[in-house]
Symmetry: C2
Subunit: 171 residues, 2 copies
């Protein structure tokens, strides 16, 4: 599966958002994206995410400190902005192609011009909740669960279990 799915994270403030942004990155990886771009430079988030990739596998990429307006303008494909103010997910999803897709998620405030730069503004529910949840549910619905079903060939593999932690370590 290589549908060229990339996530762009806006509004990251390292002190405040480290954990939430790391969750955004790991959700992007686990639910089927190939790469995450973060508007603010943050070596700590890069290190955390690359550590997970090294242990659990796959070739997910993370890049921080990107010029996000340029990324948006130069994206050759579709831009989807996830926002509680957007169109209802279930209504808009059939019009969104599942490839060459840049999915934009903000933190608290997103510059107003993002609404115009995006091809689609999509609400995963028109209630306040979480960009982490919005990204996960959007990718889960977009790919019909296929993101989660992928195998990640890495040194560490978790073996699904009813009652215990079972980790296979090939390192």
């Amino acid at each position: 599966m290589e549908p060229n799915l990339v996530v762009l994270r806006l509004g990251h403030r390292p002190a405040r958002d480290k954990r939430v942004t790391t969750h955004v990155c790991l959700v992007a990886r686990a639910f089927g994206a190939a790469k995450v771009l973060i508007a603010t430079r943050d070596a700590g988030v890069e290190r955390s995410v690359r550590g997970v990739v090294a242990r659990f596998g796959g070739d997910f990429e993370v890049e921080t400190g990107v010029n996000w307006r340029r990324v948006l303008r130069e994206w050759r494909g579709t831009v989807v902005h996830l926002t509680m103010y957007g169109e209802v997910l279930e209504e808009v999803l059939p019009r969104i192609p599942a490839r060459d897709l840049l999915v934009v998620v903000g933190a608290e405030k997103v510059p107003g011009d993002v609404f115009g730069l995006a091809g689609f503004n999509v609400a995963v529910g028109n209630q306040p909740h979480s960009e982490v949840a919005a990204l996960a549910v959007f990718l889960d619905r977009l790919l019909g669960g296929a993101g989660l079903r992928r195998a990640f060939p890495g040194p560490m593999t978790i073996v699904p279990s009813r009652r215990r932690k079972v980790v296979r370590n090939r390192a």
Copy 2:
């Protein structure tokens, strides 16, 4: 819809987890739960969540500083523990009733006995990502999207829009 869905959040540390735990609470509300219980006392999280409920509506409840082992033992219904080590979501979901359900989400480390106290240990993907995402996708799949489709009659309502922020304020 009153299927008695409650979320129990374990391992919350106020300084470190404030934002992520707030996301857990707002996801619980937006995706169909009636209440969230948090093992550690945190007046700040309570205030944030109640503020959202006051503005955006519904009767979602939050309680912090609960005795979580007692909650688990005394729950009259099914306990589902979301963990990357658990059974594959798609395989176990048909066996889980969608009512009288206590959904347990941890932070980084969860005490080992939680695996035994839960009726089901369920992995939303066997990859590390986010308890916020796991909760959202679990509830979305469990309720077939019905949680997100609910109306929340409150003073503020967001009107879905293609290009703008449209908020109706009845206060």
